[in-house]
Symmetry: none
DNA sequence: AATGCTATAGGTATTAATACCTGTTTTCAT
DNA sequence: ATGAAAACAGGTATTAATACCTATAGCATT
């Protein structure tokens, strides 16, 4: 019996834990590694003797999201089979992902059986796409690559940003992380530098736009 | 052994299936019913002999989302224990949910153990809030906000907020509006007071959540 | 061994933001 | 026309944020 070794990359712990259980009910599937964001995946790939047959990659993550992770991966040769996870697809996103060489797509709102099926198909044939998504590709258009390369934030910096978004002051962040306020200032300065923002207001917007901090657009005011 | 009978309401099948497996690893928890949206839950409740101890309710769903479902439920008397699932909470959302009488909150990015723990606590005590969310409430000055949550912002204040979101300092805003920096400060103080925010970071998030400032979250469209 | 990156943290300044006052003028609805 | 908001603006503080420095320890890579 060949076991497919799967690596899950998703920031939602609950989702990750759930899908892991789901997959491991199958005899031929084994979740061997997990990562919470793209950076962790890249680190994983660097570890010696790392081996995986297939990567389930979530698109929306802090630190290094799915798209950026793919771009990063494709800077070097690799033969990874990657199935992308997203809660919503549209045509240009699909095209972009195809362009980045992914092997399959899965909607987060999908039957467990379809997930299993997609994994097996990708493992066997190297590529699998279901009918709904195929339909999207039929009317294919070319898209221009307009990806600006911005400096990636470290996970510590991402942590500080999240706390900044929660209205914590430098001092409060320092207490929360058990480090000196000066260190937090250092992180904040690097954050402003990397993101090109002028002040905290800009950082908050940056965080929201890069899925590091989620907001609910409320219908009640 | 008392089994807690759980009903899961979530549109993401994968998530639902995952969390079901997770919960059923516990001896005292049993997932007896599932629904994909609020309407399905309402239908379930209408079926004779329907019985559930606790409902896990996702907020973002098609057809009838979590908030609307709660509103609908509260039109009639009921003694349901409801734990809300969301990927992100903010102050006004928490307020709204408390108002709708929910018994607990869970972040989707949460450890499985916390989920189990919350379910048990709610089942035992009827209500449970974990420390992270408590902290959020403290940070956002929920109590202060309760008193004056119906205070509306003036158009001048809204104007200042927009400029704050554009990373302008008080001085720059003053120049832009041809008024004194002191006046801008006055506006800003009223804004913090009315919105119950601690600082600019909070105001930016408030602005985005209240559709006063648009952000571009998706990288591709 | 040398390099570079990250996280750590202190020094010294300046500028901005926040808090709590005071007051006048303008605007607008009753 | 009168009273209540709203917009305006100054006084005086304190605290926080930002802008430059420097520096060291840990760690991985070359």
């Amino acid at each position: 019996m060949i076991k497919h070794k799967i690596t899950i990359v998703d920031d939602e712990r609950l989702f990750k834990a759930g899908i892991k259980l789901l997959l491991e009910q199958e005899d031929d599937i084994q979740v061997t590694h997990e990562a919470s964001n793209g950076q962790e995946l890249l680190d994983l790939l660097e570890t010696p003797n790392f081996e995986t047959d297939l990567i389930l990659l979530d698109l929306s993550m802090p630190v290094l999201d799915g798209i950026d992770t793919l771009t990063e991966l494709n800077k070097n040769e690799h033969d990874l089979k990657i199935i992308v996870l997203s809660s919503h697809y549209n045509d240009s996103l699909i095209l972009k992902l195809l362009d980045e060489g992914v092997s399959g797509f899965l909607a987060k709102n999908e039957n467990p059986e379809v997930v299993i099926h997609t994994i097996r198909k990708v493992a066997e044939n190297g590529f699998y796409i279901n009918d709904d998504i195929l339909k999207l590709i039929r009317n294919r258009r070319l898209i221009a690559k307009t990806k600006e390369s911005n400096e990636t934030l470290t996970s510590r910096e991402a942590e500080v940003i999240t706390l900044m978004c929660n209205e914590l002051t430098t001092k409060e962040i320092a207490q929360q992380l058990y480090i000196s306020p000066r260190t937090v200032e250092g992180h904040r300065n690097r954050i402003l530098e990397k993101t090109g923002c002028k002040n905290i207001a800009g950082v908050v917007i940056y965080a929201i736009e890069h899925n590091m901090y989620e907001v609910n657009i409320t219908k009640f005011r």
